[in-house]
């Protein structure tokens, strides 16, 4: 008998053994964040089942299911379902052998409140099979750390794990952190769709920072391997910190994304003006984005990287290489205010950027600098000046604000769950100083609190949107009272060597209420205030009032001053369905949704918005901005300043406030007329040094290779107004064409005797002389690149006049959704 025949016979014998029918289903209860002992299946351990039902109580968060399979011979032999929805199959193994560790993501969207069921169903009833090491873990929880390190009390994985992704997403982002990675050869992440990611190095015996892996729609699984395991038994660990659907519209309650047909240049410009102060992207780049799938375009447009060179490409005119500097508030203010030879900022302006009293100017320079990321600064402004505002007009110093700003942005860049971003902000020195935590003590002897309810209330209200409206008595007398006790023994120490306060507080326990405190119906323990805040934040983000109010604060603050009940419901649903909360994913999904691009959305620009949109469009290079720092920060003339919010912790000037102020309209119009020198300058000047104002590097030429007035006018309108010419009506065109195409304005061109007349759309429709003149003006050439100095300077002046006109029109004060 040949070996083959012998094997066949053995298999038949084995099969004969397995023909006995399976007994009833078996059930097992799973606890979240625990491994469950036991072997289940058929001819595996003591089991003889064709179906295993694992029950658990849903917690509304994305979960990870861990399992090892036994004796799986075919791809579809055992299916895994959660509440009836398939999440995959048990992986193949060798005959009568166990697989390695496999993890499946169970999205929050397919879970139910209360009892949930995971079923393992054998599709071929005459097979042996098995599953063991069943475990269920919340994505992002500390229990969901896997690997091989001393004292690992969780699930040990020495060599490799395979993470299976849901099947119904278009693209996803996964946020990982790793343990004790010394070099790039130790671990690797390989998506089944191709490519690989090397985890960044960490400190010894420590977890590193989170990083993000983006995978496309066709990714079924991700292989996570310890490459050094076989040679040295290398310790390692990994954690899935977050899992973000790139496009929540695929799931119930999410936004509806625009289709490719609905997405065009108008939509791209709208996003850029709202979320990136207009951005610095070239017209070519805007066209490119408009032709992409919006869901892909938005990932290029909006990200929290320090540098986004598509959104804000460097200028060839600059030699500052800002795009290679650290794009943090600390890094850039240090660079611009320092005395390094490469610092391009004029000497007298360096103190403006570096001093405590004008830190806001440093921020403005970042928001307008080519080579950085204006979206990052827009969100940074909102987080630190509106949502979680700190105020340098109180005792908060520049060093604390810089640390605060950079930490928030670093976490957003790393896709840290939003609850963690908020809890780390709440435990900053800036907040501790703003709310004067240093005076708050728990007196053990008398069991009394020398404290106040200031941040105890604002933590709930401002950070999370919890007002306690549904249970005000409990909120006032339990949650806030106990939160005040939790916020004790927090000190911000003076560093006499550096002559400044430390940027991080010291968390004591001697003057702290050490016991657990009831807040939001939960028992919040921790040896110091930071522990308690960190624990509480994970609960607060899920509080029903937070779920209802926080997304409205975000969208109301950033993008919509006219939120209707209908839009509010959509926004709330999208936020509630997102677990864990991720600001970037939320904003991206919103920015390409029909909610953002709806006709009744209105965003009124704040004075800072207007100034930064202007600066991003006016300065052809960073160098021009450096030579014009005072004018670039024109918002200060409206009594508005960055890091000194008008309403203290309740935030800076809002768009609505600006829109309701006729005085701001007056100031803007007077800037364009009485003070129009700034628009028509040929040079920008500081320290007695001049640089030529450059237009040719940014104004695109017409198809004929010249600067045709009509084309320049439309380009300017789109630059500053960004509405894809929607409101560039015939009257506005006539005035702008005249200012560009002639040395006089339209009224003077028409008649020296009637210069106060009003030109209406009716005139432009029915008056042949005016029509003829306007048509002629539209066809003129602007001699921006003339070899003759006088012609060039006149072209510059005309361009300046046209800009002065455009930025003082009503359309420069607000943006409409569609």
């Amino acid at each position: 008998m040949s070996t083959h025949l012998l094997l066949l016979l053995l298999c038949l014998v084995a099969s004969a053994v397995e023909i006995a029918p399976a007994r009833a289903d078996t059930q097992v209860n799973l606890q979240i964040d625990r491994l469950t002992a036991g072997k289940f299946g058929r001819n595996f351990g003591r089991g003889n089942h064709s179906k295993v039902i694992a029950k658990f109580n849903g917690n509304g968060q994305h979960l990870l299911l861990h399992a090892r399979s036994f004796d799986i011979d075919s791809f579809d032999e055992v299916r895994i379902r959660v509440n009836g929805e398939s999440i995959g199959q048990l992986p193949l193994t060798k005959n009568r052998a166990l697989s390695g560790s496999h993890l499946w993501i169970i999205p929050a969207a397919i879970q139910k409140a209360g009892p949930n069921k995971i079923t393992f169903v054998l599709t071929n009833n005459d097979r042996s099979w098995g599953v063991q090491d069943l475990g269920l873990y919340s994505v992002g929880s500390s229990a969901a750390r896997f690997g091989n390190w001393p004292n690992n009390r969780g699930l040990k994985i020495v060599r490799r794990a395979v993470l299976h992704l849901p099947t119904d997403f278009d693209a996803a982002q996964l946020s990982f952190s790793f343990y004790d990675i010394d070099n790039p050869r130790e671990a690797v992440i390989r998506p089944s769709s191709g490519g690989k990611t090397i985890p960044p190095n960490t400190r010894d015996n420590d977890w590193g920072r989170s990083f993000v892996v983006e995978v496309p729609a066709n990714t079924e699984s991700i292989d996570i391997s310890n490459l050094a395991a076989s040679t040295s038994g290398k310790i390692w660990g990994f954690q899935l910190d977050g899992f973000y659907y790139g496009f929540p519209e695929n799931h119930a309650g999410g936004f509806r994304a625009l289709t490719r047909a609905e997405w065009g240049t108008a939509e791209v410009r709208r996003v850029l003006h709202t979320f990136a102060f207009g951005g610095r992207a070239s017209e070519t780049q805007i066209q490119r984005w408009s032709k992409m799938d919006p869901r892909h375009a938005i990932t290029e447009m909006l990200n929290f990287d320090e540098h986004n060179l598509k959104l804000s490409p460097p200028s060839k005119l600059d030699r500052d290489a800002v795009h290679r500097q650290p794009g943090t508030l600390r890094g850039m203010t240090k660079y611009w205010s320092g005395n390094r030879g490469s610092n391009p900022v004029p000497r007298s302006s360096r103190n403006l950027i570096g001093s405590d009293w004008s830190l806001g100017i440093g921020w403005s320079q970042m928001a307008m600098a080519r080579g950085l990321n204006p979206f990052r600064q827009k969100i940074g402004l909102w987080e630190t000046n509106y949502h979680m505002a700190v105020n340098m007009n109180t005792n908060v110093d520049a060093n604390q604000v810089i640390t605060y700003y950079d930490k928030i942005m670093e976490q957003l860049e790393n896709n840290t769950p939003y609850s963690r971003v908020l809890s780390d902000a709440a435990t900053s020195a800036a907040i501790a100083t703003q709310y004067n935590h240093g005076d708050s003590k728990w007196i053990r002897e008398t069991q009394t609190c020398e404290c106040n309810e200031d941040f105890a209330r604002e933590y709930h209200q401002l950070f999370f949107g919890i007002l306690g409206r549904d249970e005000s008595h409990y909120h006032e007398t339990v949650s806030i009272k106990n939160m005040a006790k939790a916020l004790t023994d927090i000190r911000v120490l003076w560093n006499s060597r550096k002559n400044r306060f430390e940027p991080w507080p010291v968390w004591g326990s001697s003057d702290h209420h050490g016991g657990a405190l009831e807040i939001q119906h939960a028992s919040i323990g921790g040896v110091n205030a930071r522990d308690k805040i960190t624990t509480l934040s994970q609960i607060s983000i899920e509080h029903p009032e937070s779920q209802a109010n926080l997304p409205i604060k975000i969208i109301g603050g950033l993008a919509d001053d006219n939120l209707t009940e209908e839009k509010i419901a959509v926004i709330r649903n999208a936020w509630q369905s997102m677990r864990p909360k991720n600001l970037l994913g939320f904003l991206r999904a919103y920015a390409i949704s029909d909610t953002f691009h709806s006709r009744d959305r209105v965003k009124y620009w704040t004075s800072i918005d207007r100034s930064m949109i202007f600066a991003n469009k006016y300065y052809a290079s960073n160098q021009e901005g450096y030579y014009d720092i005072w004018y670039a920060n024109s918002y200060r003339r409206d009594q508005v300043d960055v890091f000194r919010p008008k309403h203290n912790v309740f935030g800076g000037q809002t768009g609505l406030e600006a829109a309701r102020s006729p005085d701001i309209v007056r100031r803007v119009i007077n800037d364009s007329t009485e003070h129009m020198y700034y628009f028509v300058r040929q040079h920008l000047e500081t320290d007695g040094r001049k640089i030529q104002k450059n237009w040719t590097s940014i104004v695109p030429k017409s198809a004929n290779g010249k600067y045709r007035v009509k084309d320049v006018a439309e380009w300017l309108w789109n630059q500053y107004i960004g509405d894809d010419l929607k409101h560039f009506n015939s009257v506005a065109r006539a005035h702008v064409y005249a200012l560009l195409g002639h040395q006089h304005d339209l009224l003077l061109i028409l008649s020296e005797r009637d210069i106060n007349r009003v030109i209406t759309e009716r005139d432009l429709k029915h008056n042949p002389r005016i029509r003829r003149i306007v048509r002629s003006l539209a066809g003129q050439q602007l001699k921006l690149d003339s070899s003759k100095k006088a012609s060039r300077e006149e072209a510059h002046r005309r361009l300046g006049r046209a800009i002065a006109f455009i930025v003082a029109t009503p359309f420069s004060f607000a943006q409409q959704g569609k």
Partner: protein, 468 residues
Amino acid sequence: MNRRDFLRNALASGAIYSAGGLPVFSDSAEAGFAAVRHRVLAGVTLAGGPDFRHLFPPAFSTNTSSYGYRFWRARANSFGIGNSSQAMSKHWNNGFYHRGSGNETFGILKQAVWLKEMWDAGNVAIVNNVIGSDSRDHSHGLLVMDQGIRSSGPNDRNRSGWGGRLALAANGNVVSTSYAPRPFCYPPHESGDIYSVGSNGMISTPNTRDLDIWTPDNNYPQWNERGKVARALRSYYVSLREDLDRDSVFYDFVEHEKNVRRFGVQIKQRLRSVRQPAALKSLSRWDNETMKNPGFAQQMSSLYDALACSDILRMRVASLDYGDWDSHGDQRDMIEPNLVDLFGRNRSFDVFWKALPSQAKNKLVFVIFGEFGRQLNANGDGGTDHGRGNSVLLIGRPVRGGVYGDMFPQQELARLHEPSPDIHGRTDIDQVFGACCNWVSSGSRGAVFPDFASSRRESGVSFARLFS
């Protein structure tokens, strides 16, 4: 006539911005200061939750079960004193003017000299136990106080303010003197719908001496750069009044331009003959070191000018604000300088009042309020935490001075040991502010306060004789 019709008719009556004929100048020494022909209510918002009990405490008593003793004991920490009888008695005697009303004796903080003088002149009404929002959060509380709509939720931001509605009901305008107009000033939508905001009826004058849109005069060279854009913009804005849909969100800016352009020139001309009071001018300089907040003196200066131009502006309501009252810690050091800024000798109100022509004083009433009061007990940090009820102050010659409502309810004593005890609201804002509305424009109260019908007034209190 229902509220919407009332307000719509007021709009339809036109002339909201008309100059109202030739000004009648006062007979005072203030040349150029026009007679204030109509009553004007000036709302002063003290954002942050001002502790009026710090300004007006009860008389200290050595009787340990009395309100006068237990209040001082509970508040010693926020007064920055020890809680011995000696310390409390000393502070009561040295820190306050002692005044009485009926059986009630209370103090007026000694630094608030002007307030004391106005009280003595019978021109201060202290209305107690007033409540707007039942919420203790600042933004919602302010939103309700500004809008005068108690039923507004925290997200109902885009509604008109009661100052804007009152001005409209009085066929006039509201003048905002702060840099950003408070929502108190927002006028109702042109349809008369108070639950949305319109653009007619609000004038912003943070600096009355710099109010106009620059316009080249007839002697200005036609070919000058500035004139070219100025002409183009003026013509364009006028065209938009015709070409732009009135429901467009951008139409508000067209209206702003129109109003500022119109008023700017007239006010500039008028103020050439009205001397800015030197003391106010000095206080309002940004580098003035005697004022904690010189910006408030600037607002008072603008109010002075606005009154001088009240015929042009058709001012019936004015708005001022002074923030920074959220005194969770070191309350005494925090809010007493604010109170001095407002009511101290040679400070904002004092110098304003001294400069104001007598005829204008007869037509002006200040209503001073914050979004809520503070808790009855001081906290462990020398301050007080958020409460709900508070007092509202009415000041002016037309005011019949006195205390309205129980200033120190005995029932509060029983609650001192409960968590977070505060002043219980007994009178809704609609009642107090509504009385102000009727003083400005008879019968306007119901049109301005949509929730008036359901509002409460403290037992035994009447506002029928709040104004003389």
